[in-house]
Amino acid sequence: MTTVTRRHVLKSGTALVGGMAGILATGRAPAFAQGTTVHWLRWTDFVPASDQLLRNEIAKEGEKALGIKLNIETINANDIQARVTSAIQSGSGPDVICVLNNWGQLYGESVIDVSDIAEELGKGQGGFYETSRAVANDGKKWIAVPWCIVGLQIAYRKSWFAEIGYTDGKFPQTWEEYREAGKKLKAKGRPIGQTLGHTFGDAPAFAYPYLWSWGGKEVEADGKTVVLNSPATVESVKFMVAFWKDAHDEGGLAWDDSNNNRAFLSGTCSATLNGASIYIEALRKPDTYKTEAGGQLKDDILHAALPKGPGGQFSYHVPFSNLLMGYSKNQDAAKKFLGWIHSKDVYDKWFVSQKGFSVGPTTDWEKHKLWGDDPIMLPYKQAARTGRFAGYQGPSTRKAAEVVTKYIIIDMYAKAVQGMPAEDAVKWAEAELTKVYV
């Protein structure tokens, strides 16, 4: 039997008090009690299988490989900015946050320089797409590690377009043709579905390239001089008003990024700009989503790029990137985690689960054998090469990110569709841009 002496008790007590003081001073639980957990905040993926894979397999593998417990939290993409802001201001929250678009530029001062990880990733995987670089690099350093790019293409009903003359997978090539096609389809109760609402993906991915294709742009290459109010922009707005009335589901003004999926899958709209989530969902439940003839809807879906305008043909694909937060108390572990999750073998599993909904941030992923699996997904393969980013013709700076998050370009079109004269809508948007770029 061990004898507990008074001296023994005093020594233990002193050690305990000392230990507690240490813990209180650092504000952290001791390592043996705490374990290392990296908290990763992401959007709720439009491909549910990918979230399951992350939680059920990749998190466990990460724990084995790195000794890091991975806490994956998913929320609605429209709520991510609010979470980032509150986390930064309170100095606590997720260690790594996956943001969309160029939102990362808004938080440049509150994140860790991840140039070492990003540079290595770019070098090892064929180099980044320009979009990935533009949103995750502030011109001096990498403020985020580019994660992926969700390609945006028009998903359309093959048979319905065939009925109006677009057979053999042909699709309207210009806005005029698209409008005429939409007019015919709307007359049959099959309008084009497009959001002009306050939402993160489909709305900017439509409004920006539409503007560029008419020759309009926010700013000059200097990233300061606002040049939105041009004849090209006014023309684009005028055309949009008629286009909307003639060809679109007018409820689109209130749609978020999920409304068009529901509308398309239920046979309510004939075409919509989207990531491939509609097609992937139709593939996942072939017996749920049917055509009016009773066939499987998946066999009646094709994808096409946005049509050309007088200024050319453009696209905007939604980039995602991982911010390593400056307040994180697990920065080393989080860095280790980022390097690991972006490594080819680990990323490959997630990439495959996306079935082409996302392309990688680097060009090597175009060579993946996945692209040979399904020709319907091929238009997404190299889409990221052609994508421009918000803020064009200038760099994708914090100001450009502010314009995106204030929905100024989208609202310019929405206001005109609601009845504001085109010139006034453009003037309004120009004034809003000037306030931002001042």
């Binding site: 938080y107 007018e250 409820g251 209130a254 409304n259």
Partner: protein, 311 residues
């Protein structure tokens, strides 16, 4: 015996311990009892309020403390068209919903003040909109007003009341009407139950006597019930105005301030600018712009309550 006597004398003469003396001092005790409340008010009301004021006079962005800019943020927002729309919307939203909530709440309260079978069940049932968490019930309403799959449109169409689809949330005016409807639906129970409580304090004998004297129902309501119900009504209306003026959840869930900023209120616009875009100072300035109106409402409320107490 001698020892006991000495002890008793000692006990009588010894002053009570300091702690006991403090607790017997009413002023000190009152202060001690108030401390938790003061701490809570300080943490959750005074601190955020002062912090909000400090933020609004700086150029703070998310993660950047910013510099002192005086009233520049206020100047900026007062020249902002979306802010002006938000101010207009907030007044319309508060005014219209309050009138409807009062009218419908009073009507319901009068009905519930009568005797009928299932009265207790009906009273409980009427509280449902108020009990369900706002965000959940608003999501249900969003589905009912869905631009494409609106169950309301479906019903109206099948009853032959409409031939085409009503673009509830896509049309600026209809979107405003939609959020007003939801707010009224949610707020009526608060008015109904509060006014019912007021009605039950009015002696039925007053109405009976007036009826015997030949007063018609409308006259009885106008000359007896309404004056006696007015103090409760004023308090309920003022509380409702404060809540509605600062409303956030219904608009955020239903429209997010859209379409094209047509339904932004103070709170949703402040949220979009301050939290969404990370322009904390501007967001704080927008929030604080509500303060003078709400402060006025509170002053009126306090003055009225004091007047009623004096009477």
């Amino acid at each position: 015996m001698a020892i006991s006597a000495v002890s008793a004398t000692t006990l009588r003469e010894a002053p009570p311990p300091r702690r006991q003396r403090l607790l017997e001092d009413e002023r000190w005790l009152a202060f001690v009892l108030l401390v938790p409340t003061i701490v809570l008010l300080g943490m959750f009301i005074a601190y955020p309020f002062i912090r909000g004021i400090l933020l609004s006079v700086t150029s703070s962005r998310v993660g950047m403390p910013g510099d002192f800019v005086g009233l520049a943020n206020f100047y900026k927002i007062f020249n902002d068209g979306i802010f002006r729309t938000s101010v207009y919307n907030t007044f319309v939203y508060t005014g219209v919903t309050t009138v409807f909530k009062l009218a419908l709440g009073l009507w319901l309260a009068m009905l519930l003040n009568r005797n009928f079978r299932g009265k207790a069940f009906t009273r409980a049932f009427i509280l449902l909109p108020f009990i369900i968490p706002t965000v959940l019930s608003t999501f249900a309403w969003k589905w009912m007003f869905d631009p494409t799959f609106s169950v309301l449109n479906w019903l109206l169409y099948h009853f032959g009341l409409i031939t085409g689809r009503i673009n509830w949330l896509g049309d600026p005016d209809l979107a405003m009407i939609s959020i007003i409807i939801v707010n009224i639906w949610r707020g009526v129970p608060f008015f109904a139950i509060s006014l019912l409580a007021g009605l039950q304090t009015i002696s039925p004998e007053l109405n009976e006597a007036a009826a015997v004297d030949g007063a018609k129902p409308w006259q009885r309501f106008w000359h007896i019930t309404w004056p006696l119900l007015l103090p409760v009504t004023m308090v309920v209306v003022l509380f409702s105005v404060i809540q509605t003026f600062a409303d956030f959840q219904i608009v955020y869930v239903m429209t997010g301030g859209g379409p094209a900023n047509a339904t932004h209120l103070f709170a949703t616009y402040a949220y979009q600018i301050g939290i969404g875009t990370g322009l904390l100072s501007e967001g704080a300035a927008i929030s604080l712009a509500m303060f003078p109106v709400l402060f006025l409402v509170v002053i009126i409320q306090l003055l009225y309550i004091r007047r009623v107490e004096v009477r």
